[in-house]
Symmetry: C2
Subunit: 323 residues, 2 copies
């Protein structure tokens, strides 16, 4: 087999606002990047924008394959996006066939969280493991599962919804229809909501200062800044948030006995303010053997996890490595 | 390959009180059964009792292999029982090697819940699926996981502890050291405790009559008998129990998107009193796609799941079917 460094793959990460593109070498270096707005007119415009971005990052080199991560439910075997409501007409799109026809290059399509998980597994925080769980904390809480070195997709291709593990029998209703889902406590908006609630109740904090008294400007980043400046409320908010996530993860540690849990996404940027209570909760609440064995680590690829995972996915698909 | 019906395997199920033995044909019919007391003197006596039972059920036929399910942590690759506190000296026992030496027949050893899971997967409620979860409800709540048609054991061989998934952030401490584990609400003793508590608080019920006013005689079976006779308290107890189990399962349905969940063990004999609220809770609380797809079914092999699973395990091991 020729040196893999000579081959290049394109990874595409479709979001509601931007489409990110990267040209990735066989030995996993990003050679080119591009970011284009996501067209709002519907599927034809999105597919054309994808083609444009792929051609731009790949114009100086022969591309061996294209991997695409998209939000929503994806049938990766057929390369079909089953559905995603935030992009117009992005439902039952045979994305693989559409792009293969236009580009004449092999295409692999999967859910964006699976792509991130695969990126972290192959070249990030999960490298060298067999069984990992990947968690992404942001507006929502997503997750991916690697078992026996393969992405586990589940019976209807929708496995990994870690954010929708209930952490209480009774509690607030979640957007998914469930009750007391973990996401309902630690999704971006809910972290902010708890913070605003505490400030309105008179809890002392420097957070109102940091946002010029406009509480609608509070974000997880602001709360982290406040925690860095020894703000008690901010630290309590992260302590609570880490505990909630830790309760769900303690259950998964007992159930799945994973080797590593990799945590990324915007909210994970709170760093040790979040990871310390989270790890402490897992240590205290999960059974001693699996709790001792599991490593809980921040994701390593940051914003690149999606495009790198997508590029690795098509690469692995082409060399016949089972995913 | 010759007709499998001509081959026979012995399945052994080690419990704290009894060791069960079955001679199982290649086409999964139980040809012989035996039940011997579990010696309390320690490992040598237990291994000798196993040898005796195996020779008894297998005396009229050539046995191709022996499968043994034992409680506790088992390293099935090495055939070593890592530890189990309820049987004296049952720790770091190289059970496979000990028995292979005595019997000169291939032996396979695994955790008892994994054996039951494998039995249900191969010849019971999970037949024909790829991804199932098995749940056994009794004094404790155990579980097994089949993924891609193989038993999933986890990084430290201790996966499947469904009973130790927390269902509340705050709640009673569990024997495992965790907080608000599902088992802490639905283990045998806790079902009884809730029932006794309600009766002591003056809740009307026919249960005291059924146990001749001796509340220490209440068992899940008694509660089921009372529910059959239209006892409101008994029905409420099962409703609650099904809800608690359903909350944990809703999380697993979202996380793992399994094809089937198979539920056995003594407490599952409550039948529809338990299954109805359990299924209703999963339907209401899990996300619509995985909730619609999953089937939640009672185990089919009953008390035989352990010995059949053990026999199937060694059979599959010998024919090289990956487990």
């Amino acid at each position: 087999m020729e040196g893999e460094g000579g081959k290049a793959f394109v990874g595409v990460d479709l979001g509601g606002t931007y489409i990110k593109f990267a040209l990735v070498s066989g030995n996993i270096r990003i050679l080119q990047r591009r970011k284009l707005p996501t067209p709002q007119e519907g599927r034809e415009a999105v597919v054309s924008q994808m083609e444009r971005g792929i051609r731009e990052v790949g114009k100086e080199i022969a591309i061996c394959g294209i991997g695409i991560g998209t939000p929503g439910l994806v049938d990766s075997r057929k390369g079909v996006v089953r559905g995603f409501t935030n992009i117009k007409d992005w439902e039952n799109v045979p994305l693989r066939d559409l792009l293969e026809e236009r580009m004449d290059i092999p295409v692999f399509v999967d859910n964006d969280v699976n792509m991130m998980t695969w990126g972290e597994y192959r070249c990030g925080g999960g490298r060298g493991c067999r069984d990992i769980i990947c968690l992404t904390l942001g507006t929502g809480v997503g997750g991916g599962i690697v078992i026996n070195g393969r992405l586990y997709r589940g019976h209807s291709m929708c496995a990994g919804e870690i954010g929708h593990i209930p952490i209480n029998v009774r509690g607030p209703r979640c957007d998914c229809g469930g009750i007391a889902c973990m996401e309902r406590y630690v999704g971006n908006a809910y972290i902010v909501e708890r913070t605003v609630g505490a400030i309105r109740k008179g809890k002392r904090s420097i957070i109102p200062e940091l946002v010029g008294r406009d509480l609608s400007k509070i974000t997880p980043k602001i709360i982290t800044d406040a925690a860095d400046r020894e703000d008690d409320l901010a630290r309590e908010i992260w302590e609570e948030t880490g505990t909630y996530i830790g309760v769900a993860l303690a259950g998964l540690v007992n159930f799945l006995n994973p080797e590593r849990i990799i945590i990324g996404g915007g909210v994970a940027k709170a760093g040790e303010w979040l990871f310390r209570p989270l790890r402490k909760t897992v240590e205290k609440r999960a059974m001693s053997l699996p709790a001792r064995e599991v490593q809980i680590l921040p994701a390593q690829l940051g914003e690149d996890a999606g495009v790198i995972g997508a590029a690795m996915s098509i690469k692995d698909e082409l060399i016949g490595r089972s995913r």
